[in-house]
């Protein structure tokens, strides 16, 4: 009866919610994009996602073993990192490169900081940056989706090598920018960029699938709308300005939003809670920064895509943002 009663600090009830549940929600949110990737890139997508997930999880397990810490795989955060890393890789990337990237992103991006919650930079983006720096050629070879008929003319298609490859819309827009003409051809690809029937990173290509996933996360309140909205608004504003100045060489802001990793970043990468600010105002600043830097790199910089660098740069200033936008208590600062 009333034996063995326990005591603890209030509150004595809690919401049935766990970190694992949060991560599971994110995985479900990523599922539509996973399906889209498997549809467009077939076996390449499945192999890449499986490789990244398994090697991320394996690295985390090994790091915990070395650090003599308890196993932390059950929080599923390594799985999320693996999927996001796979999503940001070109479909034709060799498996060994994906393994190197996964090991680097978990070991250097996360575990050396102390594991989940302690990392400063988004682990997946750390891994991708490492791969881009190390294997530049592999990281910019884009496969044509398997659904596209070989006879159909796609932009800048190159059918001479083994796998059919093509330039991504963003790479092409870069050429347009340099040639000061031809942006129109990229804008015509907007429909394909929206459904995903276009060359690009695994998970980034289908805007539709990403939007479906984020709607789920927003309904489940797993993420707030602040960061995604801030990223998209600032990127859209930036893109509109350049489009209005010169529509011959600049692609339309909508094409910007649907191309490359911008949606993926706005929905799943910038919203990584560990590396984003805590306060609402901080989230706005962070999101606007991510959007603006991405566009700056796309339009002014040398790279066609700037998502990973913009996220990493904003991750670096997140502690500053948090310090700057401190919350003021409802009753104001105490007088005494």
């Amino acid at each position: 009866m009333l034996k063995n009663i326990t005591v603890s600090s209030a509150p004595h009830v809690s919401k049935p919610l766990s970190t694992r549940g949060v991560m599971l929600d994110v995985i479900i949110g990523l599922a539509p994009a996973m399906l889209a990737a498997s549809y467009y890139f077939r076996i390449h997508a499945i192999v890449l996602i499986a490789t990244c997930v398994v090697s991320c999880a394996g690295t985390e397990w090994l790091c915990n073993l070395i650090r003599k810490k308890s196993n932390s795989l059950d929080d599923l955060s390594a799985v999320v990192t693996g999927i996001i890393l796979a999503f940001s890789l070109p479909p034709a990337l060799p498996v060994w490169a994906a393994i190197i990237g996964s090991v680097f992103c978990i070991a250097i991006g996360k575990m050396v900081f102390g594991g989940l919650g302690a990392n400063i930079f988004n682990p997946a983006m750390v891994g991708r940056t490492f791969l881009t720096a190390s294997f530049g050629m592999l990281m910019t070879t884009w496969m044509v989706p398997a659904t596209i008929d070989a006879e159909v003319r796609t932009i800048a298609a190159d059918n001479t090598v083994d796998a059919r490859t093509q330039a991504t819309p963003l790479a092409y827009s870069k050429q347009a920018l340099k040639a000061r003409t031809g942006a129109e051809a990229v804008n015509e690809q907007l429909g394909a960029a929206f459904t995903g029937e276009i060359g690009g990173c695994l998970g980034e290509t289908s805007a539709l699938a990403l939007i479906a996933g984020v709607v789920y996360l927003l309904i489940r309140r797993t993420i707030n709308f602040h960061i995604p909205l801030a990223v998209l608004l600032s990127a859209f504003a930036f893109g509109s300005v350049t489009y209005l100045i010169d529509s011959e060489s600049s692609i339309s802001p909508l094409t910007h939003l649907c191309s490359g990793g911008l949606l993926m970043c706005a929905f799943f990468i910038a919203t990584d809670p560990v590396t984003a600010p805590l306060t609402r105002r901080g989230m706005w600043v962070f999101g606007i920064g991510v959007g603006a830097i991405t566009m700056l790199i796309r339009i002014v910089g040398e790279y066609p895509e700037g998502v990973m660098y913009s996220v990493l740069l904003m991750n670096a200033v997140t502690p500053l943002i948090d310090r700057f936008y401190k919350r003021i208590p409802a009753g104001g600062k105490a007088s005494g």
Partner: protein, 456 residues
């Protein structure tokens, strides 16, 4: 008078825990156990602890003052039974750990106080002066019965530096499980209204409100009807507030009803607001009109394991164990006995712990009700998801404060306004990493208090 049954009035933040009020919502206030032995704690309120006025072996009468103190912020304690002082010694205290208590052994023929006080038909407010009401509230040992136990006299007493203009009677009862205030509103409506009028007169407030959460439409209706039938000479407004925890916190209530913020480090009287719990208002009417001190209160004994959960009129000082036994004991294996509700209540280890003036409920929880979270899951690292920031009704950064305390950085914790925390527990409730955020903050506050004491 038309009163909306759904409230738009609310505050930012807050949570919606399962209410569980159906267990005792329809249980009328019944007489509680006639305990053989009562332990009246000498510190049941915020402020100076009382000194005993009786000695071991003395005979005491029901209602006799047995402990008091000269300090302004304090309240005397009275014996709820007639009998003999058996012992003056340490007893478990829910807040203080262990504290002095006067243990009284009740006589065989000790009168049993019934919850029968009715406001007489000839009740005339003009018969009582403001000073009389304040004096009676002090003499009756009245303290805030909603949980904090702030002496009522200190709240009411007019202060030329802080003129009061708004009186809010708090009928929110936002904690899950508890229904004693709800029953009081239904059954003691006239007492509450009399108490409100007395409090309004004593404090000099110009406006009065009764705030009730909109999950109690029946209470809103009953109070409204009672006010209407009495002609409502004081123009009391009934306000339906949104059902959300911690709506009954006075700072949140003031925000919802008056759209005002109480400055951090201040208490409501400093901005001219007096908040009284409905039980306190009813007790005030009793203390002033028939001069009966606060010796009994309604306690909700609840929780799924309790055989006969309900609302009982209990002599203050009855041990929790006696109370549970009176309710038929428990059926399943209980995991926790909590004084108060599950959000802010205090888990006790000693069933001999006496009830106090602020014990509004004894909630018994099993593992299942507590949720698997607190038992099966370990604490995982903070993923900075920001849920605690979203639910914090005081707009703090709970995770930052908690982690500062965890790493012994009390100065950082204070820079993040640790002292503004009211310990409502919303942050711990939502935390997916299962971190005892509220617990860390409470610990931090205690450390800071100790530091200050050492420096003084």
């Amino acid at each position: 008078m038309v009163v909306a049954l759904t409230g738009k009035h609310t505050f930012p933040g807050g949570i919606h825990p399962p209410q569980k009020k159906a267990l005792t919502r329809d249980s009328q206030i019944q007489p509680g156990p006639a305990a053989k032995q009562i332990s009246v704690l000498l510190g049941q309120h915020i402020g100076a602890i009382c000194q005993p006025l009786v000695k071991k072996g003395d005979a005491v009468e029901a209602g006799q003052r047995i402990g008091d103190c000269d300090a302004f912020v304090s309240a005397p304690v009275h014996s709820p039974v007639s009998g003999k002082v058996k012992e003056i010694g340490l007893r478990s205290h829910a807040v203080l750990g262990r504290a002095q208590a006067i243990t009284i052994e009740a006589d065989e023929n000790s009168p049993e106080k019934q919850p029968s006080f009715q406001v007489p038909a000839d009740f005339d407010l003009s018969k009582y002066s403001a000073e009389q009401i304040c004096e009676a509230s002090r003499a009756g040992g009245l303290v805030g019965m909603g949980g904090a136990g702030f002496p009522t006299r200190v709240k009411l007493e007019p202060n030329p530096q802080m003129p009061k203009d708004n009186l809010i009677i708090n009928g929110c009862e936002c904690e899950p499980y508890i229904t004693c205030d709800y029953r009081i509103m239904l059954e003691w409506t006239s007492q509450i209204i009399a108490g409100l009028r007395l409090a309004k007169k004593a404090s000099g407030c110009s406006q009065a409100f009764i705030a009730i959460e909109d999950n109690k439409p029946k209470a809103i209706e009953v109070v409204r009807a009672a006010l209407e039938s009495s002609g409502n000479p004081d123009q009391v407004k009934v306000i339906a507030v949104k059902t959300k925890y911690p709506q009954g916190g006075e700072r949140q209530l003031i925000k919802a009803v008056l759209k005002k913020s109480v400055p951090s480090g201040s208490i409501p009287p400093m901005i001219g607001v007096v908040v009284l719990n409905v039980a306190t208002a009813a007790a005030l009417a009793e203390a002033v009109i028939v001069d009966v001190p606060l010796t009994h209160r309604v306690v909700t004994v609840t929780g799924e394991p309790v055989v006969r959960p309900g609302n009982y009129y209990v002599p203050i000082g009855t041990s929790v164990g006696d109370l549970i036994e009176f309710c038929g004991g428990v059926t399943q294996s209980a995991a926790k006995v909590v004084l108060g509700g599950p959000m802010m209540g205090i888990a006790i280890a000693d069933l001999e712990t006496p009830t106090t003036k602020t014990t509004n409920a004894v909630t018994i929880l099993t593992k299942e009700q507590i949720g698997r979270a607190k038992f099966d899951r370990r604490e995982t690292p903070c993923i900075r998801c920001g849920r605690c920031l979203e639910v914090c009704p005081e707009n703090l950064n709970p995770t930052r404060i908690a982690h500062a305390v965890k790493h012994d950085l009390l100065d950082v914790a204070e820079r993040y306004y640790m002292s503004a925390c009211m310990e409502c527990g919303c942050c711990s409730y939502v935390c997916p990493a299962n971190i005892e955020i509220t617990g860390f903050i409470k610990t931090g506050k205690i450390f800071v208090a100790r530091q200050k004491k050492r420096m003084a």
